[in-house]
Amino acid sequence: METDKIIGLFKTVTSDAVIEIAVVIAVSVGIIWLSQRLFPWLAEHLHGKQRLFVLAMIPTLRVVVFVLATIWIVPMVIETTMQNMIAILGAAGLAIGFAMKDYVSSLIAGIVAVYELPYRPGDWIEVDGTYGEVKHIGMRAVELVTPDDTVVFVPHLKLWDGLIHNANNGGPSLMCVTSFYLAADHDAHQVKQLLEDVALTSPYVQLKQPITVVISEQPWGTHYRLKAYPIDPRQQFQFMTDLTARGKACLRAINVKFANLSPEHAVPVTP
């Protein structure tokens, strides 16, 4: 009797329906496959906002295609009455609760991620101490590439209770903080002006964004933090290298001494 009830949930699937379902799945997979190749290729030729916009369309399009395909296929297989839906959702809930909790949680978080946009392809994010560029947002996980070219897969379920630090939040503005550690005895105003000019004359700097220098006095000397934005977030490491190299040369030219940190005074450096 139970078997009859379960069978009763489903429609009789004709060969035409099977072909139609196969075509819908094939077309959906085709669209998703094509979008995952076409959009990144197009994005490679674009910069700034346009690049990020094109990249952000990939997961959005995938969810739209997935939802449309589901809406198309489900009524062809299942009698969509309220009773049937409750029975199916109940059974599915039981299976998810026992066997596939994390997997489905990640899938649902993936859909929420498309809506809430905590990260998009092209964003620079940090999750659980891993910093990198979002290269791909899959159904279950987000794919990061670290500055050392290591691919890290982070399941979407981190979204529920983890802290996600997004450095550029979908835009081309990503602040870089470059530190300079100097011995305490020097003219702070002169150094501040000099470091601002170091950023202003960097070919990487985004001139539309502010350049600031924050000074803090430490037991070992003075800590300068030069804050500025590169034109493209992907240039952040070259930008910081340029600021560091030219900044050091300029500071040396005005005879400012660099601080020598003893191990007990060492400060953690954030990227």
Binding site: G48, T201, Y204, L207, I231, Q235, D242
Partner: protein, 327 residues
């Protein structure tokens, strides 16, 4: 032919580009896409095609008359102070200002030597050429984009604005002006430019075509007379098309082009000093590649962006998020 003078001096804030007809917008979009997806075979290196048609220079007197109409009262008052005249690249604004200065016997000031740019000693530069009324025909030569290359202009501008150096007209290239406003963020008063060229002005400088064509040309040239003459010359010459960006343009290409535009041309040595992040051999490669693509040229020991390549270069820099000029 009308004898009306169509040159007009306006405040910079009032500048508006000519409206582009739909066909021109489509053409601009096509050009933009072409720049995004450059083809390897587009950068031709045939000897036969190496020379672009020379574009005719135009009569500077009507432009100088427009400066007279705008500045005569101020000039006659002889009150110390300055006015800025912003010059988009290839617009001929500096040449017009020189013509105007010559007309009124205003002295053209000599820019400081490269080693003076790091100094704030304005007096020693000024005393050698001190005069009551003067013209600075290109402020881009008064600074360089390096940490010790902006001290001079930062010390000079307040003195000029306070009127300590008499009465003067300062012509500043539009790219240089955009950067200087960022480097020295003080609201500058008395900033003028020539109004965008439209059909009547293009006809006045000698381009003969119907209104529709002239309107499209003015829009494509961003209202810039010099650019319009260059585009017109290319349009009349079936052998040439406008140059486009070569393939494999990267950050370094953008840095070179932006720096050249910022200073309206630089020698190879100075360019290397301003871009220490680009290795010397890489810089040579970039310059040669851009020269082959007709986007830059080497004249009088200086590298310049070509008038024919300017639109492609501007579009390239803008699409990569660079801080472009207001024109």
């Amino acid at each position: 032919m009308s004898s009306e003078n169509n040159w007009r001096v306006i405040r910079l804030a009032e500048f508006e580009r000519p409206d582009a007809p739909a066909s021109t917008r489509v053409q601009q979009l096509f050009q933009h896409i072409r720049n995004l997806f450059p083809k390897a075979d587009e950068s031709t290196d045939d000897e036969e095609q190496s020379d672009f048609p020379g574009y005719r220079e135009f009569d500077l007197k009507p432009g100088a008359d427009a400066l007279d109409a705008a500045f005569d009262e101020w000039r006659n008052d002889s009150e110390p102070g300055i006015k800025f005249l912003i010059s988009p690249p290839f617009s001929g604004t500096a040449a017009i200002a020189r013509e105007w200065a010559q007309r009124h016997n205003w002295k053209q000031l000599t820019p400081p030597a490269e080693e003076q740019l790091s100094s704030v000693d304005i007096d020693s530069w000024w005393q050698a050429q001190s005069t009551k009324q003067w013209l600075i025909d290109d402020l881009a030569n008064y600074w360089q984009r390096r940490t010790d290359g902006m001290a001079f202009v930062r010390a000079l501008l307040p003195k000029l604005m306070r009127g300590e150096l008499g009465q003067g007209l300062v012509v500043c290239d539009s790219w240089s002006f955009a950067f200087l406003q960022r480097a020295w963020p003080v609201h500058l008063p008395n900033v003028y430019c020539f109004a965008a060229a439209e059909e009547a002005l293009l006809r006045q400088v000698g381009i003969q075509a119907d209104d529709k064509k002239l309107k499209a040309l003015a829009a494509r040239a961003l209202g810039n007379v010099g650019l319009a003459l260059a585009l017109w010359a290319v349009e009349q010459d079936e052998e040439h098309g406008l140059p486009s960006m070569p393939p494999d343009c990267g950050d370094e290409t953008a840095f070179v082009l932006y720096t050249l535009l910022l200073h309206m041309g630089l020698s190879g040595e100075t360019l290397q000093r301003l871009l220490p992040t680009v290795a010397a051999d890489q810089l040579d490669v970039q310059l040669l590649q851009l020269q082959q693509a007709r986007l830059v040229q080497y004249d009088d020991n200086q590298w310049h962006v070509t008038v024919y390549g300017y639109l492609a270069v501007r579009d390239f820099l803008k699409s990569r998020g660079f801080y472009v000029d207001a024109f």
